[in-house]
Symmetry: D2
Amino acid sequence: MSGSELKADLWINEYITSWDIYTHGVTKVLAYQQTPYQEMYIVETGAFGKGLVLDGKWQSCTVDEFIYHEALVHPALIAHQNPQRVLVLGGGEGATIREILRWNTVEKVMMIDIDGQVVEACKQHLPEMHQNAFEDPRVELVIADALKVLDTTEETWDIIISDLSDPIESGPSFPLFTKEYFTKLKRVLNPGGYVMVQAGPISPPEVGDHARLVSTLKAVFDEVTSLSAPTPSYGRSWGFALCSDVAINTKPQPELVDKLLSDKTKGGYRFIDGITLLGILQTPLYIRKAIAEETTVYTLKEPPKFFGTGAMS
Amino acid sequence: MSGSELKADLWINEYITSWDIYTHGVTKVLAYQQTPYQEMYIVETGAFGKGLVLDGKWQSCTVDEFIYHEALVHPALIAHQNPQRVLVLGGGEGATIREILRWNTVEKVMMIDIDGQVVEACKQHLPEMHQNAFEDPRVELVIADALKVLDTTEETWDIIISDLSDPIESGPSFPLFTKEYFTKLKRVLNPGGYVMVQAGPISPPEVGDHARLVSTLKAVFDEVTSLSAPTPSYGRSWGFALCSDVAINTKPQPELVDKLLSDKTKGGYRFIDGITLLGILQTPLYIRKAIAEETTVYTLKEPPKFFGTGAMS
Amino acid sequence: MSGSELKADLWINEYITSWDIYTHGVTKVLAYQQTPYQEMYIVETGAFGKGLVLDGKWQSCTVDEFIYHEALVHPALIAHQNPQRVLVLGGGEGATIREILRWNTVEKVMMIDIDGQVVEACKQHLPEMHQNAFEDPRVELVIADALKVLDTTEETWDIIISDLSDPIESGPSFPLFTKEYFTKLKRVLNPGGYVMVQAGPISPPEVGDHARLVSTLKAVFDEVTSLSAPTPSYGRSWGFALCSDVAINTKPQPELVDKLLSDKTKGGYRFIDGITLLGILQTPLYIRKAIAEETTVYTLKEPPKFFGTGAMS
Amino acid sequence: MSGSELKADLWINEYITSWDIYTHGVTKVLAYQQTPYQEMYIVETGAFGKGLVLDGKWQSCTVDEFIYHEALVHPALIAHQNPQRVLVLGGGEGATIREILRWNTVEKVMMIDIDGQVVEACKQHLPEMHQNAFEDPRVELVIADALKVLDTTEETWDIIISDLSDPIESGPSFPLFTKEYFTKLKRVLNPGGYVMVQAGPISPPEVGDHARLVSTLKAVFDEVTSLSAPTPSYGRSWGFALCSDVAINTKPQPELVDKLLSDKTKGGYRFIDGITLLGILQTPLYIRKAIAEETTVYTLKEPPKFFGTGAMS
């Protein structure tokens, strides 16, 4: 409002739509790189701590990333109850594997990210996010094109977390929100396993994108549940899709979840617990309606196109 | 991101903090007024439909206001199960009373708003919001200072909805988030009644404001529950506080809620139903923690001060 | 800089290039119209008074328009010394004809503007600009396509002022900065007459546009002089081109100019006088160099394309 | 205008007034430092090349700095005709001394800048600006508070160039636009010498600041002439004041100036020459009027306060 006192000179604008801009005031630019795959900034913001920005889109900020990463990781692992082998696609900051490593049942985490330069920069500049997760002996980091690894690997997984940047044109994740990609994930999923996919914003002007991703996943998996979490540094809440060929319990008892987390993980949660999980599994009505009416299946020939453009071209 | 095509020349910046700006592209300015209490715009936005802006803060937009207003109104009425007399403080657009009027149990709604010029402008320019609610014979609109009405009225209410603009300095709602004000609400609340208060954003950088409001309410009411809903036109999710001197069921059975809504209301919901209600009642862990650690009680002497400044001075 | 206190919520962004944005804080929107030719705002700004914005570009503001309009009009009339018949192309606000009418030698002014709705809105909302110039009996206002009028008219003129909006794609002035258009102007120019053309910004990143316009004019007129004036509401200085088939004196004696203005005009100048005129006729070196190296001639087939897009399509 | 395609994600906003923002799109942040005196960025912009930003204000950009620096330096040296000893206050980028060193008459240049960290960063990141001027044996760089040096030095100078950042509160130049400071300059000026002062923007909303500086200088020097140059990366034209106790020729013959520059300097100018100099010496009428009406004299007790705030506090 009028009379507002601004505290920054340097700003990063995220163009959410052609009509919506979320602007973060920046106090310091820690790293800038044009990698072969994307344009990267790591900055200090005034309100959200340090943040990673790829192709102009905020990936995560230290002040609120716990919401995104705890919501992304634990619902699938809790659903499985005894996760041992976990595959992560994307997840450059290392916060996704950090959350997985809380589980003492986990024996192996493979993280595949296409952009080694981004991973290196995060290792160096964002220790708050990875918390040395990359050093954990259970972790194998593979810098490669996920599509190629998925085609050749013989390893299989209890849990797969698809933590990719959004599918923008000329961005590295453009083909990775398609039926073909999700089918490859299913091939390497163990029976009784779960897949969790970051699945776009759920704001009313954009909920169609989320619904189409869920619809695409339903073409591959028997069970798909939409979840969401309040992620303010993105300027709106974010959607996820939990997928499996076994039933997904959307009314887990909070007390049992809390006991499971207490028994099998090292704790320290800030977002997730039994109550929060019960909450985020209750998909709001307008999202359920959008999903129910949706029939689109994204394919490599007709992939999703989120607002924006990447640096590859 | 780079290469983004913008579609507006006229923009409204909402200064969320000194470091965060949410900018809405505007396609048309429908009304502008400097009232005795605040500066008002009613505009058409590119992404969120028509919106009302007071003192530089978005109050509601036609594309996503259903989330805010259904979350604000129905949890209290559902908790009560048989609401007959409802008092609304603020609520200029008329969308709050529109939601209340869905209930066929309701016999009387009194809406008290200080700013008659804003209400008139909304009546004229935002028919999508009020949907002629002001014409309903059950509604009594009182243009007055809520504090004065509350001091003198003999009427009492089953439900009170405090739908005020944020407590910014030199704004009309500045004294209305205090122990004194909430105590006045309690005086006119029927036994077994419920009060619902819009209670600020719940994003991590701002959750302290919400926690302090909840703490203040706990100094007045026996039971206070924090809720939130994903309200993208504000750039983050919004918090509410449901208060009562009787117990609040935070695990309502969705089927029973759906039956109640079906029996006693005319329906047409887009956000609320049994599942959504169960979800929003599960306060995320970090909010519960912030509330648990908070002891501040806001008073007229030390009221809350949200970021920004109003036009009164 | 950090700590800056902003006083507006509503802002108009002018996109100067893909990398430069000049943002004016708006205090009131006086008029908005989508005409058949362009999108129009008339607003009150915080720093520059009332302003006219067409297709997202500032046309003029009451606080600094005197610089633009006095620089646009008087150099040609002073050069002529006895202007009687003046033709204006464009000039919707009426400030251009206001300046011309200062001259008591002037017997007839014809103003041709394509957009009658913009002219009407300016008449109503910008009296500071036109100062009732439209009521002067010497003025004939013609709402028409300049190209068509120029093809059929038998009238000829001592002075022609081309006060058009910039040549942006899908804007109304797109074909009007070409050799063909300037040739039509020359056909209706009396012997010894002068043509003045608003000719784009002269900032180093954009000076090529100005140089190409001057080069195009040189293909039509024997003498062309580049001038510029400091026009802050455009975010940079603006260029003009004074054209004739007779010699142009670029070192006029200030005292003689002042005497001419005193004898033949009603005075009241804020920008122009003998000294100022001498100054703006001394084209800075980098502009002279850019012009000297330029050979482009804009034609209807290959017209100039300034940054931006108009509303016609 | 609507439909504009933006090419940056990172932006630096310069707050010109509470109502005017000039935003430069940034492609790379080359250096960031919080020095004891100010906050510094050196960045690559999309349109204006590399630029130095101090306390949120653009100091100079490689694409248009030639306009500022040639206008700042040469008018005084040309007026003197045989400058041998030149003192520079401020001028961190080294472009001011670069211009002075064009003169083969110059034997000694002393540059006093308070902020050695800014000078170092410019040496490293802005070779286009200094062009190794710091290595010239005629140059003595003194990192010190100008006020203290001026109080103690016994050296005197033919020319003094005051190339300071603007007088913003808590900025390092805050006391340096006062009668006391200018009096100190005069003490070390040789008879027949000239002082040139960067003297703020000349846009109509800000011309009062410029007029007050000129008025202050008139309280110290017998002759003061206002000049200005079109400096687009500041979003408006910039003013200077040329001061002396001997007469200042404001109508120099271009041919004589060109001969002087050809005889005594190594050339390579892009902005200044005889014609340009004649032009910029013709102060526009509204500036002359503002100066004529102004009587303020800034003193240490009542110094000028430009819009903004520095990082010292």
